[in-house]
């Protein structure tokens, strides 16, 4: 299992469009990616509506967990995705 934290800088947070992009990115890796908020609520990153349901806003810090598959490659890809898009 690998983990990293990230603070959202996108002014709209993880809304529909960014959530769609995130779900797409999470589907592209061979590991299970989970996003958790500080209050403990979490969602599997490939589930678009569950992601949107978290209502993650700018300035919030999320914990991203990567399990199974090639964890190193998946973690690197997800970290890059967050930096570029969120």
């Amino acid at each position: 299992m690998k983990q990293f934290t990230y603070t959202i800088t996108d002014p709209v947070g993880i809304h529909a469009r960014p959530a769609g992009m995130l779900a797409k990115a999470a589907k592209a890796v061979d590991s299970t990616v989970t996003i958790a908020k500080a209050d403990g609520k979490s969602a599997v990153a490939t589930k678009l509506m569950a992601l949107m349901g978290l209502g993650i806003k700018q300035g919030e810090t999320v914990t991203v967990t990567i399990e199974g598959g090639n964890e190193d490659a998946s973690a690197a890809a997800m970290e890059q995705f967050f930096k570029d898009n969120l």
């Binding site: 002014p11 709209v12 809304h15 529909a16 469009r17 959530a19 769609g20 992009m21 779900a23 797409k24 490939t46 589930k47 678009l48 509506m49 569950a50 949107m52 349901g53 209502g55 806003k57």
Partner: protein, 551 residues
């Protein structure tokens, strides 16, 4: 003959069959289904078809309007494949033993309700996206035609009024014109029609009946008249107009790629007025030589809170890049008076046209101004942006604006963010005061642009919003035209250019006067570019007179 009268909201004449826009309103049955496996199969099929349609729409949107627009449809396609959404539909089938239609409806309602309950206005609005997706699957299940037009030949589309998502999905190659029962000049239908350059009439009311479906109609988007089985006189009038329109169209095509120059060699810059980045397509289609007025209000009016620097930067950059080095004049925030935005929490004023509006808001709220200027300067690295300040009355205001610009440039320098140091700065000439001190103002800026609607309003003391001032509100009044001349003389004395970005710029009866005054630029709506070009190319600048100034 059936003659209907509405409000013409987009010019042009067209003949074609009336087709009523179809919405999937058939009731969804809650009865138990005979074969659940069969329902599952139907659902899978409808889902696949919906995803296919959405991906095709995404491709089309990408081609027409870029990645941003495509993402909306891609996100919709992802909703359809979302595991939780799919599970919810399948669970409903299992537990309720209902038809696929009912399962889609239930899942759509459940997820829309989840979003609507969220503590965030933006997310609440996404409930509409879920409903949109559910409706698409339902349409496919029930065999209702995509885009609402199930016709092989192009039609005159009739409706009560169309919602934005509905206009977005229409197959535009099948629409000759629009006629609606409700709506106004500002409705989505009217805006779409003008952008597409096809005729539209709204406000036809009850005279537009469903039973007219399929009948052949003539519509005139200028006069607001629609006729079915016209009598001889009406028919002749419509046909004459159609022929003239066809001739004009051919003539206009020959104008593309031509220079905006008079017979005696005087050049005129013919630019376009736009209200959002989407309008750039129309500028290209009509061969506009630049953008003389990009109203930045859309960013503020469409939002429920102050637009961020990033959002603004993206919009400005998009337009600057799309215009590929041609000049793009962006006007800073011009709200107040007739354009109100709730989150600005402006005090109610007795005379809003004479109140805190436009540049006055910016100078009173440096943070709002700074955000916009930062976005503008950042975008200046991506094209030829010029910044224009509205509602100027005094030299000190211009100096304060320039100081704000210098502060922003110093910030960007310190942060190492690229921008164009030589970004042109100009002002709107729309108050009598600015005309009277034009010589001093001209020394401060790179260009003038005359807003004729406001200049007329303030010069003639006539409220432009009032309906019953009619004949008193006269933009051809010699006082207005003389004000133009005063401003133009001051501009030229200081060696700067002057344009007109108000509606008067497209008034062909004044072209001679503008040439005589020495106006350098006319910024008009994209559809007015080619007719204006045709007229300029027939003119001889040195024989134009100031006759209309009556002096």
């Amino acid at each position: 003959m059936i003659l209907m009268q509405g409000k013409g909201v987009s010019k042009g004449v067209v003949k074609g069959p009336i087709y009523f826009y179809q919405r999937a309103e058939a009731a969804v049955s809650t009865a138990a289904a005979a074969d659940i496996e069969e329902e599952k199969r139907r659902l899978e099929e409808a889902k696949a078809k919906s995803a296919e349609q959405l991906n095709a729409l995404a491709d089309k949107a990408r081609e027409e309007a870029g990645d941003e627009a495509a993402m909306l449809f891609e996100t919709h396609a992802m909703f359809i494949e979302d595991e939780d959404f799919v599970d919810c539909m399948n669970d409903a089938l299992e537990s309720e033993h209902c038809a696929a239609e009912r399962a889609v409806e239930m899942a759509g309602e459940q997820f829309a309700a989840m979003l609507a309950a969220m503590d965030d206005a933006y997310m609440q609005a996404r409930a509409a996206d879920i409903k949109d997706v559910a409706r698409r699957i339902l349409n496919n299940l029930m065999g209702v035609a995509e885009g609402g037009i199930d016709s092989d030949e192009p039609v005159i589309l009739a409706a009560d009024d169309l919602a934005p998502s509905e206009t977005l999905q229409l197959d535009k190659s099948k629409i000759l014109g629009f006629i609606t029962q409700g709506g106004s000049g500002n409705s989505h239908t009217a805006i779409l029609a003008r952008t597409m350059g096809i005729p539209a009439i709204c406000g036809l009311g009850d005279s537009l009946k469903q039973e007219l479906n399929g009948r052949t109609a003539y519509i005139d988007g200028e006069t607001g008249k629609a006729a079915i089985e016209p009598d001889d006189i009406t028919l002749t009038a419509f046909q004459a107009k159609l022929e003239k329109q066809q001739e004009m169209k051919l003539l206009m095509e020959t104008m593309k790629g031509q220079e905006d120059v008079t017979l005696d060699g005087r050049h005129m810059m013919v630019y376009c007025n736009i209200g959002s980045p989407e309008d750039v397509a129309a500028v290209h289609a009509n061969d506009g030589q630049g953008i003389g007025l990009f109203r930045s209000e859309f960013l503020y009016l469409a939002a429920s809170d102050y637009p961020t620097e990033e959002e603004q930067f993206k919009a400005y950059r998009e337009v600057a890049a799309a215009m590929d080095g041609k000049r793009v004049v962006i006007r800073t925030l011009d709200i107040g008076a007739d354009k109100q935005v709730d989150y600005f929490q402006m005090q109610k004023e007795e005379n809003p046209a004479l109140g805190v509006r436009a540049i006055r808001i910016c100078l009173n709220r440096p943070e709002v101004f700074r955000t916009q200027l930062r976005a503008l300067y950042r975008a200046s690295a991506y094209g030829k942006i010029a910044i224009m300040f509205p509602m100027i009355t005094s030299v000190w205001e211009v100096r304060e604006c320039k100081r704000a610009c210098q502060k922003v440039m110093a910030e960007l320098d310190a942060e190492g963010i690229p921008y164009n140091k030589d970004t042109e700065i100009g002002i709107m000439i729309e108050t009598p005061a600015s005309v009277l001190v034009a010589e001093e103002l001209a020394k401060e800026v790179d260009f003038f642009s005359v807003g004729t609607n406001d200049l007329t309003q303030y010069t003639l003391a006539c409220d432009r919003q009032a309906n019953d001032l009619g004949k008193f509100f006269d933009p051809h009044h010699p006082a207005v035209l003389r004000a133009l001349k005063l401003a133009a003389d001051a501009a030229h004395k200081a060696g700067i250019w002057i344009g007109i970005c108000g509606e008067l710029g497209a008034d062909l009866t004044l072209l001679e006067t503008f040439l005589a005054i020495g106006i350098d630029e006319l910024s008009v709506s994209p559809s007015a570019v080619l007719p204006l070009r045709a007229e300029i190319r027939k003119s001889i600048a040195k024989t134009c007179t100031l006759e209309k100034l009556e002096c």
